[in-house]
C-alpha cells in the first residue's frame, strides 16, 4: 500500500486534469453551436500558444523545486526586441526575441546558482529589470512590427491549415516531453526537485541542471514574446503582467507539485488549455444571450477552479500519506 498509494494519486492527478478538459469540451460541444468549429478551435490554439510556452518553461523550473516570476516581463522584453528586429525578417525577429529571453534566463541562473539567492527573490528582481529594459528599449510605448518582412506570419500565419504559433508550441511540448521522460537531463531535473542534497551526493551536476531550467524558461518566455509581437503586430513593453502567476496556476492545475520532483509536461498543456477554455466558454455563454457575464467573471471562475483543484490535490495527498 505504501508504495502504491502515491503512484495511484499521481496517476489520478494526471488523468484528473485530462478528464476535466474532456468534460469541459463535451459541455461546450453540447451547449454551443460552432464550439468545435475550426474557427473557434484554431483561434483558441493560436491565442493560447504563447501562454503554453511560458507554462512549459515554468513547469521545468517548478519540477526542480524553484519558481520563475520573471517570465511575464521577459515575454514583454522579447516582444519589444523581436519587434525592433522584425524589419530584418522573421528569422532575425525570432532569434532576437529568444536571445533576449535567454539573457534574462542566464542572469536568473547566475543569481540563483552562484549567488545562492532564493529563486523567488532572484526572479522577482529580474522581473523588474526585464520590465525596465523593455520600457527603455521601447521608449515607453508599443513598438510596431514590420509588416513587409513576413515577421507577422510567426503569429498570424498558418501552415498546413494549422496556426504557426500552435505548431511551435506543439513541437516544443513534444520535444519537452521526450526530454523529460527519455533523457538523463530529464531524470536529473526530477531528481533535483525530489531531493537536492541526495542528487548532489549521487554526483549529478545539480548546479548545471538548475541553471539549465532557468535559461530554458527565459528562452521560452522570449519565444512567447516573439509570438505576442507577431500576433498583435506590436512589441508591447507593458504586456505580460501576471503571466507568471497564470503559468504557475496552469502547472499546478496540471498536477505538478510545487515542492518539485514530480510533474508532467503533457498535463501542464492540459492545464493551460483548461484555463484558456474557461474564457472561451464564458464568451460563448454571453453569445447565447441568456445571461450576461462580463469578462471580469473569467478571473473569478479561474480562481475558483484553481481552488477546487488544489483542494482535491491536497485531500488526495493527505490520504496517501495517511496510509504511509
Amino acid at each position: 500500500m505504501t508504495g502504491f498509494a502515491p503512484q495511484a494519486v499521481r496517476t489520478l492527478g494526471r488523468h484528473g486534469v485530462l478528464l476535466a478538459l474532456v468534460a469541459l469540451i463535451l459541455f461546450g460541444w453540447a451547449r454551443y453551436d460552432n464550439f468545435l468549429g475550426s474557427f473557434n478551435v484554431l483561434s483558441v490554439l493560436r491565442y493560447n500558444a504563447m501562454f503554453a510556452l511560458v507554462a512549459l518553461g515554468m513547469c521545468y523550473v517548478i519540477m526542480t523545486g524553484g519558481i520563475d516570476l520573471s517570465v511575464g516581463s521577459t515575454a514583454a522584453l522579447g516582444s519589444v526586441v523581436a519587434a525592433l528586429a522584425s524589419p530584418y525578417g522573421p528569422v532575425a525577429g525570432l532569434l532576437a526575441g529568444v536571445a533576449a529571453g535567454l539573457v534574462i534566463g542566464v542572469i536568473n541562473a547566475v543569481v540563483i546558482v552562484r549567488l545562492n539567492i532564493l529563486p523567488f527573490i532572484a526572479t522577482l528582481a529580474t522581473m523588474l529589470a526585464a520590465s525596465g529594459c523593455a520600457l527603455l528599449l521601447a521608449d515607453n510605448q508599443s513598438v510596431s512590427v514590420s509588416y513587409e518582412s513576413g515577421f507577422v506570419d510567426l503569429g498570424q500565419g498558418d501552415l498546413f491549415g494549422f496556426p504557426v504559433p500552435a505548431w511551435i508550441a506543439a513541437s516544443l511540448f513534444l520535444a519537452g516531453s521526450v526530454a523529460l521522460n527519455f533523457t538523463a537531463w530529464g531524470r536529473a531535473v526530477l531528481a533535483v526537485g525530489g531531493n537536492e542534497d541526495a542528487t548532489r551526493l549521487m554526483g549529478l551536476p545539480v548546479d548545471r541542471v538548475k541553471a539549465s531550467v532557468y535559461i530554458l524558461s527565459g528562452g521560452l518566455a522570449g519565444l512567447a514574446g516573439v509570438i505576442l509581437a507577431a500576433q498583435f503586430g506590436a512589441g508591447q513593453p507593458i504586456e505580460g503582467v501576471g503571466w507568471e502567476l497564470f503559468a504557475i496556476a496552469s502547472v499546478v492545475v496540471g498536477g505538478t507539485l510545487l515542492t518539485g520532483g514530480v510533474g508532467s509536461v503533457g498535463s501542464t498543456l492540459a492545464g493551460v488549455l483548461l484555463l484558456g477554455l474557461i474564457f472561451n466558454i464564458l464568451n460563448f455563454e454571453n453569445g447565447l444571450g441568456s445571461i450576461s457575464l462580463s469578462a471580469y467573471w473569467q478571473s473569478v471562475v479561474r480562481g475558483a477552479f484553481l481552488l477546487l483543484v488544489v483542494i482535491i490535490q491536497a485531500r488526495l495527498m493527505t490520504r496517501s500519506t495517511g496510509h504511509a
Binding site: 519558481i67 516570476l69 543569481v111 549567488l115 545562492n116 539567492i117 532564493l118 523567488f120 527573490i121 532572484a122 522577482l124 528582481a125 529580474t126 522581473m127 523588474l128 529589470a129 520590465s131 525596465g132 529594459c133 523593455a134 520600457l135 527603455l136 515607453n140 503582467v241 502567476l245 497564470f246 504557475i248 496556476a249 499546478v252 510545487l258 515542492t259 462580463s294 471580469y296 467573471w297 473569467q298 478571473s299 473569478v300 471562475v301 479561474r302 480562481g303 475558483a304 484553481l306 481552488l307 488544489v310 483542494i311 491536497a314 485531500r315 495527498m317 493527505t318
Partner: protein, 333 residues
C-alpha cells in the same frame, strides 16, 4: 534594526569579517543615510516639507501592506493576494458610501461603514487564505494565488469594471487629511509600524510567529497553536491590505478595480527583503521593512529628480533587491 529576534544569533557573528556583519545589520540605515546626504548635496529643493510629504505619501500604502507581509513571511509563508484584497476594499467602500449597497439614513453612517466593512471583508478573505493553508496544508504561494486571481475579478464584478469617482472629504481624510501638517496616512503608517514592531518583540503572539517560522514542528511540540497563529497572521495581512486599499482610493478620489493595488504584492515583498527579514521565516524586523520601503522609494525619487527615466529606476531597484539579500546571506553563512 535592533529588533532582530533570532533565537540563535549571538556567538557565531564573532567569526565573520567585521564589515560584513556591520553591513548586514546596519546596511539599510547606512544606505538610507547615504541617500539622504546625496540628495541634500545634489537634488535641488530636497530639504523641503513638500519633498518629505511627497515621499511619505508614495510609501504609506506599501509600508502598511508590507507590515502584514513581514508577519506572513516571518511564519515562513507568503501572501500574493494583498493587491487583489486592496482592490476589493477599494471597490466596496465607494459602493457603501454612495449608497449602492444599502440605503443610508445619514451620510456619516455611510462613511463609518465604508471604513469598517471593506477592511473587515479584506480581513475575512485573509483569514480564508490562512484557512486554506492550515486546513488543507496547501503551500502559501498557491493558496494565496487563488485570491490573487479571483480577488481582482471579484472587485471588477462588484463595480462592473467601472471607475467610481467621488468627492467626500470625510472619507478621504484617510488619504488626504493632515494632522499638524503631517499627512494622516503617514501617522497611520507610523502607528501600525510601531504596534506591529511592539507586537513582534514583546507579546506572546509575536514570539509564537517567530517560533513557528523558525521551526514549525518544534513550535507545535512546545504548545504553540500553529494553525490559529497562522490564520491570525494571514487575517492581519488581509486587514492591513484593506486599510491600504482605502488610502489609495481616498488619495485618488476614485476607485478603479483594475488598478488599485496592482503589483502591490511585489512592492511589499521587495520592501520586506531589502529590510532584512529572513525570507524563509523565523527572523523578522518590522522597522527594517519600513526602512526597506523608504530606501526603495528614495532611490526612485533620487533618480527621477536627477533626470533618470522611471524605467531605468526599475533596473536599479532590481539591483538593490539582489544586493540586499546577497549581503544578508553573506552574514548568515
Amino acid at each position: 534594526m535592533a529588533e532582530l529576534v533570532a533565537p540563535a544569533e549571538g556567538g557565531r557573528s564573532l567569526r565573520r569579517p567585521e564589515w560584513r556583519t556591520f553591513l548586514s545589520r546596519y546596511g539599510s540605515v547606512v544606505a538610507l543615510a547615504l541617500l539622504l546626504v546625496f540628495n541634500l548635496a545634489f537634488t535641488p529643493n530636497f530639504a523641503t516639507w513638500q519633498t518629505v510629504n511627497v515621499n511619505l505619501t508614495q510609501v504609506c500604502a506599501i509600508v502598511i501592506v508590507a507590515v502584514g507581509m513581514t508577519l506572513v513571511i516571518a511564519t515562513g509563508g507568503i501572501d500574493l493576494s494583498v493587491g487583489s484584497l486592496m482592490a476589493i476594499a477599494g471597490a466596496l467602500a465607494p459602493l457603501i458610501f454612495l449608497g449602492h449597497v444599502i440605503p443610508l439614513p445619514h451620510p456619516m453612517v455611510g462613511v463609518v461603514l465604508a471604513f469598517i466593512v471593506p477592511v473587515l471583508v479584506a480581513g475575512a478573505f485573509g483569514w480564508f487564505n490562512g484557512w486554506l493553508i492550515t486546513r488543507f496544508k496547501i503551500q502559501p504561494i498557491i493558496a494565496t494565488l487563488v485570491l490573487f486571481i479571483a480577488g481582482r475579478g471579484i472587485a471588477q464584478v462588484l463595480t462592473n469594471g467601472n471607475l467610481q469617482v467621488f468627492n467626500l472629504p470625510e472619507f478621504q481624510f484617510i488619504g488626504l487629511g493632515r494632522v499638524f501638517r503631517v499627512p494622516f496616512q503617514a501617522v497611520l503608517m507610523g502607528v501600525i509600524v510601531a504596534a506591529a514592531a511592539w507586537m513582534l518583540r514583546r507579546t506572546v503572539f509575536g514570539r509564537q510567529i517567530l517560533a513557528l517560522g523558525g521551526n514549525e514542528r518544534a513550535a507545535r511540540l512546545s504548545g504553540v497553536q500553529v494553525g490559529t497563529v497562522k490564520r491570525q497572521v494571514y487575517m492581519i495581512s488581509g486587514l492591513l491590505s484593506g486599510v491600504a486599499g482605502l488610502i489609495v482610493i481616498a488619495r485618488n478620489s476614485a476607485a478603479d478595480a483594475n488598478l488599485v493595488g496592482l503589483g502591490m504584492e511585489l512592492d511589499a515583498i521587495a520592501a520586506v527583503a531589502v529590510g532584512g527579514t529572513l525570507l524563509t521565516g523565523g527572523r523578522a524586523t518590522v522597522v527594517g521593512t519600513l526602512l526597506g520601503a523608504l530606501i526603495i522609494q528614495l532611490v526612485r525619487y533620487t533618480l527621477l529628480a536627477n533626470g533618470v527615466p522611471d524605467a531605468a529606476a526599475l533596473l536599479v531597484k532590481a539591483v538593490i533587491i539582489v544586493l540586499a539579500v546577497w549581503l544578508q546571506r553573506q552574514s548568515q553563512s
